[in-house]
């Protein structure tokens, strides 16, 4: 469990050390349509990408696009060793719930899934180091007419 009270002191202090101050007041996009009409993309910071893509490196705030057809070709080059990887080894949906999202689209819970999803590496970077990549991804999402993103960390 990631309840800090359950963790050893060193681990607790490390995770609290990742508390980052807000970049400013929280931006807020008003909902314009029902969830059942929304086009949804997934973004993970698990540092996964297609085999053959450039691996993530230290201090790397860049991103990699992932298509649903890539699901069986994904590898994880996240530099951290301080989280479980056996879940990802067994089932991609533990970190990137592509199958679950497609099922919700088929069931009409959401409108549709994006053509492309994206992966960053969340590894102790400052917030500003993600700005260029995140704004670039936003442009791609708009071109794909995506309404909302579901984010997963590791």
């Amino acid at each position: 469990m990631v309840r800090l009270t359950d963790l050893p002191e060193e681990e607790r202090e490390h995770l609290l050390g990742k508390n980052l101050q807000p970049l400013g007041s929280t931006p807020w996009v008003e909902k314009k349509k029902a969830l059942s009409e929304m086009r949804i993309a997934l973004i993970t910071t698990a540092g996964i990408h297609r085999r053959g893509d450039t691996n993530f490196g230290f201090g790397d705030g860049s991103y990699r696009p992932i298509a649903a057809a890539d699901a069986d070709q994904l590898v994880m080059s996240h530099v951290s060793v301080n989280y479980d990887r056996s879940g990802f080894v067994e089932d991609l949906n533990v970190v990137l719930p592509l199958d679950r999202l497609n099922e919700l689209a088929d069931a009409g819970v959401i409108g549709s899934t994006a053509d492309l999803h994206y992966s960053f590496m969340g590894a102790g970077l400052t917030p500003e180091m993600y700005e260029e990549g995140a704004r670039d991804v936003a442009r791609h999402l708009k071109a794909d007419e995506v309404d909302a993103v579901f984010l997963t960390p590791v």
Partner: protein, 233 residues
């Protein structure tokens, strides 16, 4: 991840998602997050539990209906670890105490794992090995040579990728049989019982002694292994 949510929302894209460390989200205040009590590395819960994963995903997506934010809600369920007996590890690891090289020991261990890795490939129809376009024998050679002579000039990122690929190979082989595994036990087995675990600790200890490479040591060995490990070389 909070920063990515901030920039996307600032660009006009609605965001929601998972928080694994509630305290981090409380401070940064991204627009909408669902805190889950699951282990680091498992934001959607346990593998092969589609109904549970769907409940997590739906709970996160429902935050998109909030009228105002920031919103930080708690998912009400824990991802329970099965209390059934996990499949027995297919390999009985034995670590040499003689003077055999790391390369030799690692190659012997690899031979034990190969049939189980093949079984994993057959069952899963995928592998997560492949950061480097190298054979497993070449990866083992890279790690073994570095452990046998850690002072030799080394491409550190290449070594790191070789280690991660090899760890993925081991994890897939050790969990080749279907069933529910306790990931803490798997981690302990990898680090405490295998030659690879000993070699990784040997390398991490070496880099830890070199001030400018201490950061690299920290991406070789987990913090918990540094605290609780019992068999440092």
């Amino acid at each position: 991840m909070c920063a990515i949510a901030y920039y996307l929302e600032d660009e006009g894209i609605m965001t929601t998602g998972i928080a694994l460390v509630r305290e981090n989200a409380e401070v940064f205040l991204p627009p909408r997050l669902l805190w889950v009590s699951f282990p680091l590395g498992r934001p959607m819960g346990n593998p092969n539990d589609p109904e549970f994963q769907t409940r997590v995903l739906k709970a996160g997506l429902e935050l998109l209906s909030a009228e105002a934010g920031p919103v930080l809600e708690d998912f009400p369920e824990d991802a329970e670890v099965a209390d059934t007996t996990p499949p027995v590890c297919p390999v009985s690891f034995s670590r040499s105490t003689d003077t055999e090289s790391w390369v030799g020991q690692l190659h012997r261990e690899l031979e034990l794992l190969k049939p189980w890795y093949e079984l994993s490939l057959s069952r899963r129809a995928r592998t997560t090995v492949g950061l480097l376009n190298e054979s497993i024998e070449a990866l083992i050679e890279t790690i073994g040579n570095a452990a046998d002579d850690p002072d030799q000039p080394t491409d550190l990122m290449y070594l790191k990728s070789a280690i991660e690929d090899t760890k993925a190979y081991y994890l897939e082989a050790m969990t080749a049989q279907p069933g529910e595994y306790n990931f803490v036990h798997l981690q302990q087995q990898l680090w405490d019982d295998t030659v690879l675990g000993s070699a990784m600790r040997h390398l991490a200890a070496h880099f830890q002694r070199i001030e400018k490479l201490q950061v690299f040591a920290r991406v070789l060995e987990p913090r918990q292994a540094l605290v609780t490990g019992t068999r440092h070389d």
